[in-house]
Every structure is written in C-alpha cells, then in structure tokens.
Symmetry: C3
Subunit: 273 residues, 3 copies
Amino acid sequence: MKQIITNVRNKTPLIHCITNYVTVNDVANLLLASGGSPIMADDSLEVEEITSICNGLTINIGTLNTRTIESMLLAGKKANKLGKITVLDPVGAGASKLRTKTAFQLLDEIDFSVIRGNISEIKTLYQGSASTKGVDANISDMVTEENVSKAIELAKQLSKQTKAIIAITGAIDIVANENQVYLIRNGHPMMSKITGTGCMLSALIAAYGAANETNLLEAVVSATACVGYAGELAYKKMLELKAGTSTLRMCLIDEVSLMTDESLKEGMKVEIR
Amino acid sequence: MKQIITNVRNKTPLIHCITNYVTVNDVANLLLASGGSPIMADDSLEVEEITSICNGLTINIGTLNTRTIESMLLAGKKANKLGKITVLDPVGAGASKLRTKTAFQLLDEIDFSVIRGNISEIKTLYQGSASTKGVDANISDMVTEENVSKAIELAKQLSKQTKAIIAITGAIDIVANENQVYLIRNGHPMMSKITGTGCMLSALIAAYGAANETNLLEAVVSATACVGYAGELAYKKMLELKAGTSTLRMCLIDEVSLMTDESLKEGMKVEIR
Amino acid sequence: MKQIITNVRNKTPLIHCITNYVTVNDVANLLLASGGSPIMADDSLEVEEITSICNGLTINIGTLNTRTIESMLLAGKKANKLGKITVLDPVGAGASKLRTKTAFQLLDEIDFSVIRGNISEIKTLYQGSASTKGVDANISDMVTEENVSKAIELAKQLSKQTKAIIAITGAIDIVANENQVYLIRNGHPMMSKITGTGCMLSALIAAYGAANETNLLEAVVSATACVGYAGELAYKKMLELKAGTSTLRMCLIDEVSLMTDESLKEGMKVEIR
C-alpha cells in the first residue's frame, strides 16, 4: 500500500459530494487535507454535469429530502455510465422509512463501488431492517472480537449481493469484498464524541479510490486506517493539551493533512482475514 | 443540581434537531460533547418517525423555509403526542414577517417545554413585535442590572401564556416559569463574537431536559450556566494562547465536553429571585 | 487606508448572506471576527425584508438551487433599490450550465458593487466560458507574474462592462475598477488546502464596503489583503504548533479577529498599478 496517499496528493482527485449539511464543511476540509478536492452540488439541474467533471462521487443520505434524493439518483446513474467511482453512505438507514427506502432505491438504480456504514446501517441494507438508533450504531449490534465473524459474514454477503466493497466501521473496522476481508483496529472510542467521522471517511474513500482505481480494495483499507490512525494521534494531542472533543475534531483533520504513506504504514493495524 | 450532567452522560439522550444550516455542526458537536446524541432530519416524510425514536426535539428557525416549516409543525405535534421534551429557538423572530408568523404558528400548534431566545426575540413572542436587528438582540433591549426586573416580568408573563419555561439569554440570563425565577451571571461578552452559542444552548437544553425530566427547570438553569461557564473558561484559554475568536469557539465546545456536575457547581453563578 | 477596520468595528455592519451550506459557518464567524454581523436567510418570502434591515448583501452560488436562485434575485434587486452594497461570488461559474446561466442572470438583473472570484470564474463571466475545474481555478488559468497583465486587462474590461469592482483572487490578487488597479501579494499557497477562504473574503468585502461606502475600492483592497495576511500569520502559527490544515483554518479566523488597521498596514503587500 506504499503509494496510495502519494497518488492522491499527485492526482488531486475531484470528488462530487451530495452530502448532509451537518458535516459538509468537515467533509470538504478533510478532502482538501488528504490532497483531494471537493465540490458540493445537489440541484438536479446540474448534478450530472458536475459528476461528469469529477473523478468520483459520494452520496450521503444524512439529511436527505425529496429534492436531493432525485439528484442522488441522477448523479449516481451518470457516474455509473462514465465509470466513475461511487460511494454510498447510508446514514441512518433503518431509522426512518424514508431513509431505508431511499437506500434501497439507490442500491437498485446505482452500482456502488463502495458502501460504508456502521453495523446497524449495513444490517439494514442486508436484512431490510435493523434496530438503528438514530445515526449511531445500536449498542446491541456493536462489533466486538466475539461477534466479528458474524459481521464479516454480513459484509461478504452484502458485497456478493451488491458487487460493492463493504466497509463496516466501528470499534473494529471491516473492509471486505466477496472473497477478501481486512480487519482494521485503528481509532479511539472518543471519536464517537465528534460528528462526521463516518461522513468524512466515506468521502475520503472516494478520493483514495479515484486516485487508485486499479487498487480499490487496498485504497478503501488505507482510507479507513488513515482516519482511524489520525483519530488516535489526535486523541494523544488532545490529552497533551488537556483539551476536549472540539480539539480532537480539529486535530483529526490536521493529522490527515500531515499523513504520508510512510507514517500510515507505521501506524495502521490491519489484519488480513 | 448535583446529578444533572451525570444523568445526561448516563442516558445519552437522542435529540432530534430541526435547525439552521449555519450552526448545525456546532450543535451536533456540542450535543455529543455534553453526552447526548444528535440526529438532524428535516424532511416532512420522516420527521415524525425520527421524533418518535428520540428523547427530545429542538426547533430552530434560523434558516427556515416553506419546506422545513411544515416539518417543524409535524415533528412538534408528534413530540407533543408522545410527551417528549420540545424546545423552541425563535431565531430572528421580529426580523421578518415570515419568522414572526412562523414563531406564532409554532406556538399555536405546539406546546413547548422550553423557549429560549434573546430579549428581542422573546419580546416579539410576547408583544407580537419588537425592534429585532437581525439575529442579535437590539441594543435598546439589552438586559442590564437596571432593567432586569422588566425582563423577568416578561419571562413570567410569556411563561404564563405558553406554559413553557422561558430562557432569555444575554449579558444576564433569565430562566423562569410562571412562579420561579433564576438569574445566571455566567458567560463573557466575547461570546457574542462567535455564531451559534444560542443555537447550541437550545439543543443542550433539550438534552439536559430529556435526561432530567422530573427536574426540568433545574435542567434548563444548568444548561444555561454550563454554556456560560464554558464560555468563561474558553475565554481564559483564548487569552492564554493569545488567540482569537475561532479558538474561543473550539474551546467552548471543549469545555462542555470536560464539564462535570462538580465543576459546574463551582463555576455557576446562579441567583434565585 | 488607516480607518477601514476601525470603521467596521464601530459600525457593526449587518450583512445578509445568501451563501452555500459548505462554508456558511466560517462565513458567519469571519464576519463576527471582523466586527460585522451576519444574517443568513434564503427563503423568497423573507429575503427582501432581511436585505432591507441589513447594510450589505453577499450572494454566493456555491450550492445554488432553484429555490435559492429566486431568493438571490429578489434580494439583489431589493438591495439595488435601497442602494445597499452588493457582492457576487460566482462559485463554480463555468463548471455547470446552471451556475454559468445563474451568474449571468444575476449580472443581468442586479447591479453588483463588487464581484469576487478566482480567475476561471471571472473569465467565465467575461467570455461566457472558461475551463473551470470544479470550484478551484484551472491550473492553466493561474495568475503568475508573467501573465498578470492579461488578468488585469480582464478585470478592467469586466469592470467596464458591469460597473462593479472586480476582485480576482489567487496567488496574486487583483482588485480593479475600470481605471485603477491594485495587486495584492499576501496569502500563502497552503490556504488552498482549506475550504471557504473565497466565500469568507466575499462576505468580508461586503462588511468592509458597508462600513466604508465612500471608500469602496480601498475597502475591497483592505479586505483582500486582510484575509491574505491573516492566512500568512495563521500559516506561521500552524508551523510553530507543528499542526495541519484544520489549525490553519482556525488561526485564519483568529487572526482576522485580532487584526487592526495598524497591523494590517504593516503586513499588507499592495502595489498600485
């Protein structure tokens, strides 16, 4: 995985983000920090054109509405037609009928390269329902060392069904396609006390993927490890400064901006299953 | 008030926020910092369902539009039906007919547990009009030690009318119901140089209230004192670092994430009137 | 230019921002940091009224949609009728037909006091097309010491056509009307690794302009130099702290909050052409 970040910094992939208005600024800044470049556009009159000039598309349903759902569908289909990398972040799938239905409609009409969600969201996509509590994973769903095999199986099955790489993120992150599985043990529990780490990761996956198209699975693993490792480093800095969660958020983006292939290689805790 | 923050951290109240896109990220991060959990959803097709899975609802009209006003009404009525705590933040009421009219419509159709605004906004709600200058309180309205009795009377009258707890925030904060009044003298003038302190407080009130339902008035007082005291601590840190207002904003959220019932008790300046 | 910042701090100009949801929080915080005051409102039912109570209007098409385009037109015409300062930030003009068409429609129906964009956006406004890559300037367009005369000519021509002051920002910033030209060599390349510097500057120009109406050209030059110089100081601080791009973003707003006419005078690198 030596070249993945270098490729992002050299190619400056432009990522079209149709994403929620809660974490959109963090998403834009993280893409820039990584070496990519963001463009946000959600009007149906322009999304196809914007996707056309981009290297990748990330669709995040965090604050979906009737108007933007139409734009998501248009942009996704265009990206498919042009062979661009597409990432789905099904925020809160399972928490409302609208979110679940929209996630399924997106899966129906668009071929996604990667789907990233927490365990409850991914369960919803596979089973059609789950006990999603808002936008966080339900505690009864949490991936632990004990039940990780079940979650791996889920990821592989959903990958088989959708042909997408599946990233289930949480205490242990799982990145899998139908046949290959990576477990990533980076990150820190305190990261759950800031909003946007998932949204940022989904966009980062699009950037890493767009700059490493022939190596997509490794790109997704690297992006996932990068955000986790950046979170660890940020947590250390937060402690040193005797600071709180807003400092953690700032330092996380800082660390992504400072990350190199070398430093990530040193810090990433990846197991091939 | 010893247990209020501990209760929030133990119960992780999930708060449905229909709020403006200016400060929404700060609102989400502050809720997480406090021990609560945010979910933002504003489409009429899902707001009732989202409110149903939440412990509280905050409605903030800071960037209202025709689409979201409908969602506010639906969510608020649902919250009332289910007996969930509801907070109204009438941002800019008085600054446009749309805002004033919407604020009154919300008051008409929804029973709010708490209404929080600056003095100009609260005057508008009580009198039907005031000299609101944008989203900040008009200088001629400012609550000072000299005119505080008038503002207290206003809070009590509006509480009588609406059955809500009223929080008027500014240099001196007033929290009152029909019969009881608290004055809070925490905070720092520099806090007016960052956006979102009011929006954050309104959401925090929902979280504190949801985790302390049998003790709602004290919860509102604590949340108000918490943001004010966090602002004081953040201001000190800003000076130490010879930094500016963006550092103040970060440190404010930091301090809420570090706040305990013990530290708040030491720092809060609350007078019972 | 001695009094320009002091005037902003004394007059607290209220700026109506119809702007994108990506950088809106930074825009609000920067306006407050500068001594101004922001109000965001984008519903067609209230924008004229909001513009009426404000001292200036900034229109930014970064995440435009059919609903907000109508509001931009209404607000702009009202501002013209009332003689208020108006700023256009044509984010991504040239990147989609919708953006290009909307920018032209705004230019057609509204007289702008100032238009600020990167070189690709400004080329689009003048020529009707350009090679805009997303929301960043195309590398082939970049203003350098070698081609700066061409860019100056472009600015003067567009100013002649529109009667607006033109600010083309990039490695070298150009501020020009039909007859006068200023080059500003403040700023740091790392500023391109955070989102929102352009949006923030456009809003700041409205605040500086509103507080210095008889001196508009100098106000635009000062605002442009202020953001650039704040970026330089922020970059130094970032290096001292061994931090990354998110720290840069925070420090930039910090530095604007600390800026005085005296410190800006010392730091600004302005050449009159």
